[in-house]
């Protein structure tokens, strides 16, 4: 859903394996209880990020991971216990979430919505779920645009404090209702509710990287349960 133009349509990784990896990352992140597994997961994901072309994001997550570890294992030993205690929960959760966030980065940055929906269709997720999902995803960037306009309008009026929230919501709902109707009209006049099996101009296929990353994922799940 990048706002920039789509230069390349070829995917670094199949959306289906990305979705599976998201689940795996969840399981590993929350089940593991060993620094070794955590490091292995982190390293594997960093390699995957770099492979997918998210080098800067890889560095960013690496920095965060290193910072959290340093704080927990070095700084927290010398600060007063109540400070350490109040931050420990936060840091533990950051560490557990990290694998999901890293996979999420790949999905958001590298996999276009069209391919995600295609993946769901291949898994035979019913149209009744896919259509509302795609409308929702379609609508997020539109909301962002609208909020920008509304905030501009507020800046030119003397609207302050608590009023601002109310003043954001009213026009947003009004224009959302209009947009929803127009969007629906555009979709039905192009046959979105046609019951025939939908086709796709693009296709997705598993490549070696998908098998490798899924195998690594399975291994890490095993390790998370055993170690």
């Amino acid at each position: 859903m990048s706002v920039k133009d789509i230069k390349k349509t070829n995917l670094p990784i199949d959306p289906r394996s990305a979705i599976l990896l998201l689940f795996i990352a969840n399981v590993v992140g929350f089940m593991q209880d060993s620094l070794l597994v955590e490091f292995a997961t982190f390293t594997a994901l960093t390699i995957l990020l770099v492979y997918c072309g998210c080098v800067r994001q890889g560095l960013k997550w690496g920095l965060i991971f290193g910072l959290v570890l340093a704080l927990q294992y070095h700084i927290f030993l010398i600060v007063p216990p109540f400070v350490a205690a109040s931050f420990t929960v936060l840091f533990v959760y950051i560490r557990k979430m990290l694998p999901c966030l890293m996979i999420g980065t790949i999905i958001v940055r590298k996999i276009h919505m069209r391919y995600l929906l295609l993946a769901l269709r291949k898994w035979r997720v019913p149209q009744k779920l896919i259509i509302p999902l795609s409308v929702t995803l379609r609508y997020f960037p539109a909301i962002k645009e609208e909020i920008m306009h509304i905030r501009d309008a507020m800046k030119l009026r003397r609207i302050n404090g608590i009023e601002r929230f109310e003043c954001l919501v009213v026009p947003l709902i009004v224009s959302a209702a209009g947009t929803a109707e127009e969007l629906a009209a555009a979709a039905v006049t192009r046959g979105i509710d046609n019951p025939v099996k939908k086709t796709s101009a693009v296709d997705i296929r598993f490549s070696p990287i998908d098998y490798i990353s899924l195998a690594a994922g399975v291994l890490l799940v095993g390790a998370a349960f055993c170690l």
Binding site: M1, S2, V3, K4, D5, I6, K7, T9, H112, M113, R114, S134, V135, R138, P141, A142, E145, E146, H149, I150, D152, A153, M154, K155, L156, R157, R158, I159, E163, E166, C167, V170, P171, V174, S175, G178, T179, E182, L183, A184, A185, A186, A187, V188, T189, R190, G191, I192, D193, N194, P195, V196, K197, K198, T199, S200, A201, D203
Partner: protein, 459 residues
């Protein structure tokens, strides 16, 4: 091809939107549907693409509409979708996807066409409509004209037999209108039936075979192209139609008497994320003067307005009022912007409250006066969303006037307006200028520019 036979329609059982409509459109024929706002033009287009009655519950529909012999009311809307292509007014909200390629093939994928066929259509569409520069783009990076072109392409890809277009030029500049004109010419050559509901009609004059004039729910007269072009200027104005030729009889109003106060823009330059939107722009506007700014879609007109209004910072240059440089904050205190979509700037649950929002201390007399001035006092307890487009716009202006804004900026104030409403907006704006405001208008509407502005600059 398309047969509308004795149709009367209302969204509710009591309401009357259309009365005894009879219209046949043949293959290869291009028909213009014209008339004042609210005469039922859009409703006629919906009869054909099936949004009526499939999308209107509890409506009252008498008579029959058939497309290629199929009764619209009894045909599933997805079946109609393969025969009839629809292009709508608002380029922003007619996309279902976020990138151009997916959007172009969307209809074909829905219909279950084979990937090879889809590829072929994508290639043909790109070539015939000459839209190579639209391919592989995010729709958020497109100008209004490009979006409308894409909307047309995505319909063209499905290769329908008939097209209905509902005010497709409402948000377009002259260049984009020219592109659309060429596209309509192409489909006409291919023998498709085309129905266009429009206010801005000058660009269609070479294309249409007939013009259907509607007034108050009914078809009043059907003109041949020759008869339509032979309409005198007086007849056209009486019918409430926009100009038929590119030049309009409205003349430039004379420049008002000199006054000292002026907004001066000096060497202004604006960047958004390193992209130069415009640079070295200089001009000045006096109070009581109306300055028009025009230019193609994506030339940076809206950015310029936002910069003047202090919503974004300039990267170079300065803005001065009476020779005194203005900071960003000061500009947003002095300026008021009437947005293209006024829904974004109406915040309250009644007209009165909307006005009170502007005044920190309640000055009821002042609010009364301003509401009366904008012809809104009878509606003061209604909800802003219950107003018509023109009333909403006047309310937005009233709110700005109540905040004592010196500079009033307008972004496309006449998109989708008929002749009468366009003149009404023009009169409102002239009234503001007479009261001593500095007015700057950004618009594509040349007819409106000629009637309203003292001076025009092209960006």
């Amino acid at each position: 091809m398309i047969k509308i036979h004795n149709v009367s329609f209302g969204y509710t059982q009591e309401e009357q939107i259309l009365k005894n409509i009879d219209l046949h459109i043949n293959k290869g024929e291009c028909v213009l549907l014209c008339g004042k706002s609210g005469c039922g033009k859009t409703t006629v287009t919906k009869l054909i693409n099936g949004l009526i009655p499939h999308f209107t519950d509890n409506c009252r529909l008498e008579g029959t509409v058939t497309v290629e012999g199929k009764n619209v009311a009894e045909t599933q809307i997805y079946e109609l979708a393969e025969k009839i292509g629809s292009v709508f007014q608002n380029p922003k909200s007619q996309f279902f996807n976020l990138d151009s390629d997916t959007e172009i093939v969307f209809g074909l994928e829905n219909a279950g066409a084979s990937p090879d066929f889809i590829d072929e259509r994508l290639r043909v569409t790109t070539k015939t409509l000459n839209i190579e520069k639209l391919r592989r783009r995010s729709i958020f990076s497109m100008s209004a004209g490009e979006k409308q072109s894409l909307a047309f392409a995505s319909v063209y890809a499905m290769n329908p037999h008939a097209y209905v277009l509902d005010e497709p030029t409402a948000n377009l500049d002259e260049g984009a209108i020219e592109v659309l004109r060429a596209q309509i010419g192409k489909i006409k050559e291919e023998g498709k039936a085309v129905l266009i509901a429009e206010h801005r009609i000058y660009f269609l004059m070479d294309l249409i075979d007939r013009a259907v004039f509607m007034e108050k729910e009914e078809i009043v007269r059907i003109f041949t192209r020759e008869a339509f072009l032979a309409l005198s200027e007086d007849e056209r104005i009486k019918m409430g139609l926009r100009t038929l030729g590119k030049k309009s009889v409205c003349s430039f109003p004379h420049i008002p008497g000199h006054s000292a106060e002026a907004l001066t823009v000096k060497n202004l330059c604006c960047k958004i994320k390193e992209n130069i939107i415009f640079e070295k722009l200089s001009f000045s506007v006096k109070s009581r003067e109306i300055l028009g700014i025009t230019g193609s879609n994506g030339a940076g007109k809206t950015t310029l307005l936002r910069c003047i209004a202090g919503l974004i910072k300039q990267s170079e240059g300065e803005l001065l009022l009476d020779g005194r440089p203005l900071k960003k904050k000061e500009r947003s205190r002095l300026c008021y912007l009437i947005m293209q979509d006024v829904n974004h700037q109406l915040f309250s649950d009644s007209l009165w409250n909307e006005c009170e929002l502007s005044r920190t201390e309640a000055e009821e007399a002042k609010i009364e006066e301003v509401l009366r001035q904008f012809d809104l006092s009878e509606l003061k307890h209604s909800h802003p969303m219950a107003l018509s487009g023109g009333q909403k716009q006047r309310l937005a202006i009233a709110a700005g006037v109540l905040e004592d804004k010196k500079i009033v900026l307008f972004d496309e104030p006449t998109s989708g307006l008929d002749y009468e409403h366009m003149l009404a907006v023009s009169a409102t704006i002239k009234g503001l200028a007479q009261k001593g405001h500095i007015v700057i208008i950004v618009t594509h509407d040349t007819e409106f520019l000629r009637c309203t502005c003292n001076r025009t600059i092209v960006l």
